[in-house]
């Protein structure tokens, strides 16, 4: 992470107790767990909430920065900077892969700030927050990317026993 991310986190970002936020996210999952028994339904509803979160973050804060990614490859540093600005930590590893009309970007972190120290009995990816935010923001740019669709999911989560938390964005080009 460059100096820009470090300075933004230290001097620009207004902060809140991370445990307060992590337990809020846990409460949301537990609330949905009372409404739905199938983890796939819980995942779908969580995604809805976090995509709307992405819309609010974009409208309130990111639009004003006027520094959107200029190419698909830019989604690597852009979201690394964004993640650092929102959590204080950059990703450990980001992979960019093109396979014909499919582009995959994988963001990986070991000491995930969303689920650090948490326990939830419901088996759904806990840190879906980032995936929902990225998916909503990049869905607004389908034309810019000449893409048919963009999805982002949390494909590994330490809360589910994986060794890292991992998000995979899939951009399907036209």
């Amino acid at each position: 992470m460059g100096i820009k991310g470090v300075l933004a986190w230290r001097f620009v970002a207004k902060k809140i107790n991370a445990d307060f936020v992590r337990h809020f996210l846990r409460c949301i999952i537990e609330y949905l767990g009372q409404k739905y028994s199938d983890p796939n339904d819980i995942y779908r509803e969580l995604k809805k909430i976090y995509k709307y979160t992405g819309e609010l973050i974009y409208i309130r804060y990111l639009q004003a920065t006027k520094r959107p990614a200029e190419s698909l490859r830019d989604l690597v540093p852009t979201y690394n900077l964004g993640f650092k600005f929102f959590t204080g930590k950059p990703f450990d590893k980001i992979e960019y892969k093109e396979e014909g009309k499919d582009v995959y970007i994988t963001y990986r972190i070991r000491d995930c700030p969303f689920c650090r120290g948490m326990e939830v009995p419901i088996k759904v990816p806990f840190c879906l927050f980032f995936a929902g935010v990225l998916e909503w923001i990049e869905e607004q740019r389908l034309e810019d990317w000449n893409a048919e669709s963009i999805t982002c999911d949390e494909v590994k989560c330490k809360m589910l026993g994986d060794d890292v938390c991992e998000y995979r964005a899939h951009i399907k080009l036209k």
Binding site: K15, N17, D19, F20, H23, Y31, G88
Partner: protein, 167 residues
């Protein structure tokens, strides 16, 4: 207790998720009072999770109203690194009432509540209620109730919390 030592995250992510969740609840058909009671319950659960860590910073549970006011400031500091602009208390044999006001509240920073009946810092009120329930006996009381009675995000000029302890 030092705010500098608290593990932190950007408040904008929290406030956006809070607004998204409240909007989701309303879209699911919940009335404003049901949304408020859901947020209050979340706050109480959060307090249960954070109680031991917070009280280890406070060291001694409050035994006087002055101690209680100090603890409420410590708790706000523990959550967002702020202290209240005004705190006032009244004590009688039957109850203790504490009013806390905060003009530039980070818990609802830049938020606009979807309903004037939904104070957006209600989770914090729920957390205060649960913590004070746990320490009430030190003050000769047994029950605690805390509500956010004004919220900047819901049109108030400040965020205001009223805590009431009763026997």
């Amino acid at each position: 207790m030092s705010w500098r030592k608290v593990d932190k995250i950007n408040v904008y992510g929290y406030t956006a998720a809070l607004q998204a969740f409240v909007t989701y609840l309303m879209g699911s058909g919940l009335a404003a009072e049901e949304v408020v009671s859901t947020l209050k319950e979340f706050g109480r659960k959060i307090a249960d999770a954070l109680y031991d860590e917070f009280m280890s910073h406070v060291k001694v549970a409050p035994h006087t109203v002055t101690d209680l006011e100090r603890m409420l400031n410590d708790f706000l500091n523990f959550i967002v690194g702020q202290i209240f602009d005004d705190i006032s208390s009244e004590r009688s044999d039957q109850r203790i009432v504490v009013r806390c006001r905060l003009r530039e509240c980070k818990l609802c920073l830049d938020l606009e509540s979807p309903s004037p009946d939904i104070p957006m810092c209600t989770m914090f009120a729920g957390a205060v209620e649960r913590i004070c329930e746990k320490i009430a006996k030190n003050l000769g009381m047994s029950r605690a109730k805390c509500d956010e009675v004004k919220c900047r995000a819901a049109g108030g000029d400040a965020c205001e919390f009223v805590l009431e302890l009763t026997p």
